[in-house]
């Protein structure tokens, strides 16, 4: 007996399974739909996660991955730092610019409007570091160091309904608005929300607080590759200039990396959810196939009598399950991508196709098909011909 040439060809098996599914009608569609829903969930959720990660990355990249933030903590013996601010102009050739930040909450008054706002004292270098621009008026310059001038953040200007030339009362002093800043958005890296507050020259901070403290230094590196080295140099320099102060430099890249891994975790969590949906779809396929095996018991017996080996019977049913799963995978992938696109569109994000989402979705749907199709197929193959042929 030659075993090699026995059994129908692959294309014949396929055609037969497709024809069988065709006669199963609505039940086959329900099985396919279960897998499609699962696969769509996997693909959609992976893509939503991917788009979300991209979105947050874009958000952060807009804030500059060249940005450095040094936080300073002084013990009580160190003299007030604004009296003798650290020299920041020549800290490192890797830095384009660096600016100190001293902050204090102040009651700001203009006519009848009064708001508690955060006032930040800094040097003109801050405009370079944070890429500030004046929507109205002008920015602070070196010559304004001892003037009672201020810049308003975009939102603060709206709140106070102030314009250039207005005199604002900060505590006991009057400051003149010389410019209103363009909005820069919220940057979680910065210790200060520029849009919501106001900027004055560093020296002027002494009018608002008896011992103003420089609590941070922000700096801009030449490029993102040298950020880490620049951070070390900045930290070293500040420690030298300010003995007794605790210096810690944060690189946004660290934060970005943290965000990315968090986004990945989120993605996988969502994919796990999709996998559960897929599992449910697989159970649906198994149900359809088990029903089919029971209903076609007699047919199995006839095929066996005519020469179908157990393996031929197993293929017959396994292929049906796999075809159902493949159909579900194709349909589910399309629906999944569409759903993710819709979600991104509704959230106002850029849609980005996760290149892994479709292969992952399709392969897992096929594996589900094989896994849940195998059991009914083997049950059919294990039937004894006499038992299968017996009339009920």
């Amino acid at each position: 007996m030659l075993a090699e040439h026995y059994g129908p060809s692959a294309s014949q098996r396929l055609a037969e399974s497709i024809a069988n599914l065709g006669t199963m009608g609505r039940r086959a569609w329900l099985g396919l739909l279960g897998v499609a829903v699962g696969c769509a969930a996997v693909v959609a959720l992976l893509n939503v996660g991917h788009s979300a990660a991209l979105q947050s990355r874009q958000l952060f990249q807009g804030m500059g991955s060249e940005l450095l933030v040094a936080t300073l903590q002084r013990d009580s013996e160190t003299p007030a730092m604004t009296a003798q601010p650290p020299q920041l102009s020549a800290v490192s050739p890797l830095l384009i610019s660096a600016a100190p930040l001293a902050m204090a909450p102040v009651e700001v008054r203009l006519g009848a409007i009064s708001e508690a706002l955060m006032v930040t004292g800094s040097t003109p270098a801050l405009a370079t570091v944070l890429d500030l621009t004046a929507d109205q008026g002008r920015l602070l310059s070196e010559h304004d160091a001892h003037n009672a001038y201020l810049l308003l953040g975009a939102i603060a200007a709206q709140q106070l309904q102030a314009s250039v030339g207005d005199q604002l009362q900060l505590g006991r002093y009057l400051f003149e608005v010389i410019g209103i800043l363009g909005p820069i958005g919220y940057n979680p890296l910065l210790p200060v929300a520029v849009d919501d507050g106001l900027l004055i020259p560093l020296q002027a901070m002494r009018r608002l607080s008896s011992a103003p403290q420089i609590s941070a230094v922000v700096a801009l590196a030449r490029d993102s590759q040298s950020v880490r080295v620049a951070a070390d140099e900045l930290a070293g320099d500040l420690r030298m200039q300010l003995p007794g102060a605790e210096v810690e430099v944060q690189v946004p890249q660290q934060l970005l990396d943290g965000m990315a891994s968090q986004a990945r975790l989120f993605s996988w969590l969502l994919a796990g959810l999709g996998a559960i949906a897929l599992l449910v779809g697989g159970v649906g396929v198994m149900n359809v196939m088990l029903m089919s095996v029971i209903e076609r018991r007699r047919e199995i017996g006839v095929r066996m009598a005519l020469g179908a080996r157990p393996v031929d019977i197993a293929w017959l049913f396994l292929l049906e399950a796999v075809i159902l799963a493949s159909g579900g995978a194709v349909l589910g992938s399309m629906v999944g991508v569409l759903a993710a696109w819709l979600f991104a569109w509704l959230s106002g994000w850029d849609f980005a196709l996760d290149p892994w989402s479709i292969p992952l979705g399709v392969v897992s749907a096929l594996l589900i098909g094989v896994f849940f199709g195998l059991q009914p197929a083997l049950a059919a193959a294990r039937l004894q011909p006499v038992a299968a042929l017996r009339d009920e």
């Binding site: 129908p8 066996m304 009598a305 020469g307 179908a308 031929d312 004894q384 011909p385 006499v386 042929l389």
Partner: protein
């Protein structure tokens, strides 16, 4: 020359009840043989053992001299496909396939390319007088026509052995006579060994030999 079929001390019990106990028999090539006996005596059981659809509890079944004891499911399937044709009382055609594909099915399992298998099936259907019904579904045929399709299917693989379990049980007089004539002609002209289970003594009398199954034993009735 070895016998077409030999059973050596075959024993089969079902559900704790002995159906066949220590049956030995041998059927020569080309012989036509009726199997008779009361209902429930084990005629179908005997035929299923010979047709390799069932396995004995003890004893050996040899088909064309080949010992099938302990053969795997796949080996038995291949032996059935090559050497044995079945005709059942309730036809057992696959309702979803056309008449032509029903007949070609054993050749598909043999691994024959579809066009060749269909060609052979067409020839076989013409031989049983159904050349005009090939693209019908079985449900569109009469009982007698269906049984002739089943006979064409049993013959398409050119087996040496034809096993028929009450092939006329569901047919009226005329159709039954047709089917019997066809089977006899096949036995006569092609030299196929024919085993026929029947309740009808007249039908049994058309066979060269008659086996009687009774109380777990099988013996020649004449």
């Amino acid at each position: 020359m070895s016998a077409a079929i030999s059973l050596e001390h075959v024993h089969r019990s079902l559900g704790g009840e002995v159906i066949l106990g220590d049956v030995s028999l041998s059927i020569a090539h080309g012989q036509s043989c009726a199997i008779v006996g009361p209902s429930g005596s084990g005629k179908s059981t005997l035929l299923n053992l010979i047709g390799l659809l069932d396995e004995p509890c003890h004893g050996r079944v040899l088909i064309g001299g080949e010992n099938m004891t302990g053969a795997s499911g796949a080996q038995r399937a291949m032996m059935r496909n090559r050497s044995i044709g079945f005709v059942f009382q309730s036809f057992h055609l696959l309702p979803r396939l056309t008449v032509l594909d029903n007949v070609a099915l054993p050749l598909f399992y043999r691994g024959m390319p579809v066009p060749r298998a269909r060609c052979a099936a067409r020839r076989q259907l013409q031989l049983v007088g159904l050349g005009a019904r090939m693209s019908h579904r079985p449900a569109e045929l009469s009982g007698g026509q269906r049984q002739r399709v089943a006979i064409a299917r049993a013959l398409v693989g050119e087996p040496q052995l034809l096993l028929a379990d009450e092939p006329t049980g569901n047919l009226d007089g005329e159709a039954a006579a047709d089917v019997l004539e066809l089977l006899k002609a096949l036995n006569r002209e092609r030299g196929v060994t024919l085993l026929l289970v029947t309740h009808d003594p007249a039908m049994a009398s058309h066979m060269q030999r008659c086996l009687n199954v009774r109380a777990g034993q099988v013996g020649d009735a004449r």
